[in-house]
């Protein structure tokens, strides 16, 4: 069977669902961030697949690159916050971070 648009969309859909599952079931903050990365990758795969099979051009690639840049920024800030939370609460479980300041 030839690979078509639907194949890529199905892969992205499964990736998205597993990312949502990770975000909702993890208590570990780093695990939640990994789930967010999966969701962003699924969206990127859809951008590039639609670009190739429907639109034609590079606009989808440009959007995917913006998403990658912002995901890197989000990961840097998120992991710095995780380190600060660990320093304060000695734990990175999301429910245990229950105060804005000490």
């Amino acid at each position: 069977m030839h690979v078509t648009l639907s194949h890529f969309l199905v892969v992205a859909a499964i990736l998205f669902a597993l990312g949502i599952y990770t975000v909702t079931t993890r208590r570990n903050a780093v695990g939640v961030l990994m789930g967010v990365e999966l969701v962003l990758n699924a969206a990127n795969l859809n951008f590039v697949a639609f670009e190739r099979f429907v639109v034609g051009g590079v606009t989808g690639h440009v959007f995917a690159l913006f998403v990658i840049v912002l995901a890197a920024a989000e990961a840097a800030v998120g992991l710095a916050i995780v380190l600060a939370i660990f320093q304060t609460f000695r734990s990175i479980d999301v429910p245990s971070a229950d105060a804005m300041r000490e």
């Binding site: 690979v3 969309l9 597993l18 990312g19 840097a76 992991l79 380190l83 320093q87």
Partner: protein
């Protein structure tokens, strides 16, 4: 659910490779070559089989991220998922995005995540993740999301057209960035600068707290 064995991802990858190899052999050796060319509906190409291998790698890695109890295995599963998505970009003629995925995600984000894992958990107990809304709620969510999205992906009336041959995209992307998307491009650099400053501020506060 018991903890997964450590080499489950390798097993998934190995099984996918074996299946792809067997299908390739079955298609090209057992089937007569002229029949495969006269009936293009059933001719299996190497690129299609490779697509299935990389899709299995992506979904296997994502499944490890979602279901593994061990945070280190989760990070390695994320490596497999990101690598698989990067390989799928190559199939979509997105060479620049694929290389960026490799450099930024695997070289940057994944290393950051591994650092965070090692800085925030003791080496003795790597088993630091447990369910928040529970596995049953999560599986309910999965069964709610996956069939709907797969149905839309397969049955949707996409205005699909035959894609052209694979071509380099770097020059086109550079032109787009510096003409049509110039303002968002510059704003992205501002965001990155603010991110760097913010991360440094938080890291300094962490050192002062000691």
């Amino acid at each position: 659910m018991p903890a997964r064995p450590p080499n489950v991802f390798r097993r998934i990858l190995g099984a996918a490779l074996v299946a792809a190899f067997l299908a390739f052999i079955a298609a090209h050796v057992l089937l007569p070559a002229d029949e495969a060319t006269t009936n293009p509906q059933w001719s299996v190409q190497l690129s299609d089989l490779l697509f299935y291998v990389f899709a299995a790698m992506t979904i296997g890695g994502a499944g490890t991220v979602a279901f593994s109890h061990n945070i280190i295995h989760t990070a390695l599963g994320l490596l497999g998922a990101l690598l698989g998505v990067g390989c799928l970009y190559v199939f979509l003629s997105a060479d620049f995005v694929a290389i960026t995925q490799l450099l930024v995600y695997i070289g940057g984000v994944l290393v950051l995540i591994l650092f965070a894992v090692m800085l925030t958990s003791k080496i003795g107990d790597v088993n630091v993740s447990n369910a928040s809304i529970g596995r049953y709620g999560g599986f309910g969510l999965l069964t709610a999301i996956v069939p709907v999205l797969v149905f839309v992906a397969v049955r949707g009336p996409w205005a699909e057209k035959t894609p052209g041959p694979l071509a380099p995209t770097t020059a086109l992307i550079g032109n787009e960035f510096l003409t049509k998307w110039l303002l968002p491009f510059e704003l992205a650099s501002l965001v990155l600068l603010a991110t760097l400053v913010g991360a440094v501020v938080m890291a300094r506060r962490e050192i002062k707290a000691d």
